[in-house]
């Protein structure tokens, strides 16, 4: 957004668009792919977090739990089948994220690069 500058937004305002209209019609379309890309990367990161989260979250079952932590809990309780199942699920989700990222780059890579002026 910084690289794209605010010229287009100024043009929209000078043509009489309200702040919201400017955001929805001009700003958002200009960085939608970069936004999606960022969300995807963030998601991948969130799925993989373990150590820091386990300390900060308090590790309370049923309340502040997440998949990586759950796998550890199951494993420590000797529920190997369950833990492997959840681990496979997590790995599958990681692949899906990776796949989406590749599709995004392949399909809209030019736009992503072009919107970076």
């Amino acid at each position: 957004m910084q690289k794209q500058g605010s010229d287009e937004e100024e043009a929209a305002l000078s043509l009489g668009a309200s702040g919201l209209a400017t955001f929805v019609r001009v700003t958002l379309p200009n960085f939608r792919w970069a936004l999606l890309y960022g969300v995807l990367l963030c998601n991948a990161r969130a799925m993989g977090e373990f150590g820091a989260v386990s300390v900060v979250s308090g590790y309370i079952r049923g309340l502040t739990n997440m998949l990586p932590l759950q796998i550890e809990i199951l494993y420590n309780e000797y529920a190997y089948t369950a833990s492997f199942a959840v681990a496979s699920l997590l790995a599958l989700l990681a692949f899906v994220t990776l796949g989406l990222k590749v599709v995004l780059e392949w399909r809209w890579g030019d736009e992503l690069a072009a919107t970076r002026r």
Partner: protein
């Protein structure tokens, strides 16, 4: 500004011209002072209500929209009550495309257009909202010389035909002189002079205006007894009301006469360089008492008549000068 005028804001970089333009367009806010439209203060009004069209230096077209959508933008973001039906909007867009001579390019994206075409789309987009005033910020700055000339002429024609009121910013004095009805010369945030191009060129109000508009030769001189001698020619300083003392004289290159024989007045000079620049011939001369070369412009036939060439000894006379107080250093 009067309705129907085409005014140029001219000045060196940093003089405040773009800031002034942005203040009028409500893209920037004044710390004091008012902008009055038809006598009304528009400070509290939204940009939409001012109905000011703005054309940016680098077009600022919406890159993800087609040309047609770009032009229709101003009409589509109007509040529901004021919004025209889609068919009317489409017709309007067609009209404007014809006006800017870009028919058939409605479905293109800005990235697929040339600089000149993009600027015309930007203009059509600004005109779509039927603005009261059209503001242009160095509209042709990013284009090459030939396209610039064509668009300049075309803009003037459009302005006259549509009866627009326009204000454009430029640092190109030639553009201002050729295009505008009135020129506002600015420097360091202040207005130095306002007037018609001829007026500002012939009677500059200050040394800066003189130096900025067109080429000029500068000579140091002294005013004594109400008169000053420049290039061995005598001029009355009483006209400009200058007191006796050191002064600065500005002489336009075409206000210097070259003669081969000294009659009553004439400063000896030697021709250093002759530049054949199309319709005009620019002659550079060296004068003994003056450090910088003196520049004189002659029409082709005059230069031919004098047989201008390097090394020739001639005499110089000034026809007209602008006298100002010498700056205090």
């Amino acid at each position: 500004m009067a309705p129907g005028e085409l005014v140029a804001l001219l000045g060196p970089s940093g003089s405040g011209k773009t800031t002034l333009l942005c203040l009028i367009a409500d893209l920037d806010f004044p710390t004091s002072g008012q902008v009055l439209f038809g006598g009304e203060d528009t400070f509290r009004r939204h940009a939409r209500e001012r109905r000011v069209g703005f054309v940016f230096q680098h077009y600022a077209l919406f890159r993800h929209m087609t040309v047609a959508d770009n032009i229709a933008f101003g009409l589509r973001v109007k509040p529901r009550r004021e919004r025209l039906p889609e068919t009317v909007i489409k017709a309007r867009v067609s009209e404007l495309l014809s006006l800017v001579q870009l028919d058939g390019l409605a479905r293109r994206y800005p990235a697929q257009l040339s600089g000149g075409q993009r600027q015309r789309v930007a203009l059509a987009r600004a005109l779509a909202i039927a603005p009261r005033v059209l503001l242009l910020n160095e509209p042709f700055g990013a284009l090459d010389a030939r396209v610039r000339k064509e668009l300049r002429r075309w803009l003037r024609g459009l302005h006259d035909r549509m009866g627009l009121t326009s204000l454009f910013v430029t640092h190109d004095q030639e553009e201002a002189l050729k295009l505008a009805d009135r020129i506002v010369v600015m420097n360091r945030g202040r207005i130095e002079q306002v007037g018609a191009p001829g007026e500002v060129y012939e009677h500059p109000a200050s040394p800066l205006v003189c130096e900025f508009l067109g080429d000029v030769n500068r000579f140091d001189c002294v005013v004594a007894g109400g008169r000053a001698s420049v290039l061995d020619s005598d001029f009355a300083a009483a006209v400009t009301g200058l007191a006796d003392g050191p002064a600065v004289a500005y002489v336009r290159p075409h206000d210097i006469e070259i003669v081969t024989q000294r009659s009553t007045v004439g400063l000896p000079a030697i021709v250093r360089h002759v530049a054949d620049a199309g319709p005009l011939v620019v002659v550079e001369l060296g004068v003994q008492s003056i450090e910088r070369p003196v520049e004189v412009m002659l029409a082709r036939h005059e230069a031919a008549g004098l047989a201008m060439q390097r090394g020739l000894s001639v005499f110089l006379r000034a026809r007209r000068v602008q006298l100002f107080l010498a700056p205090i250093h």
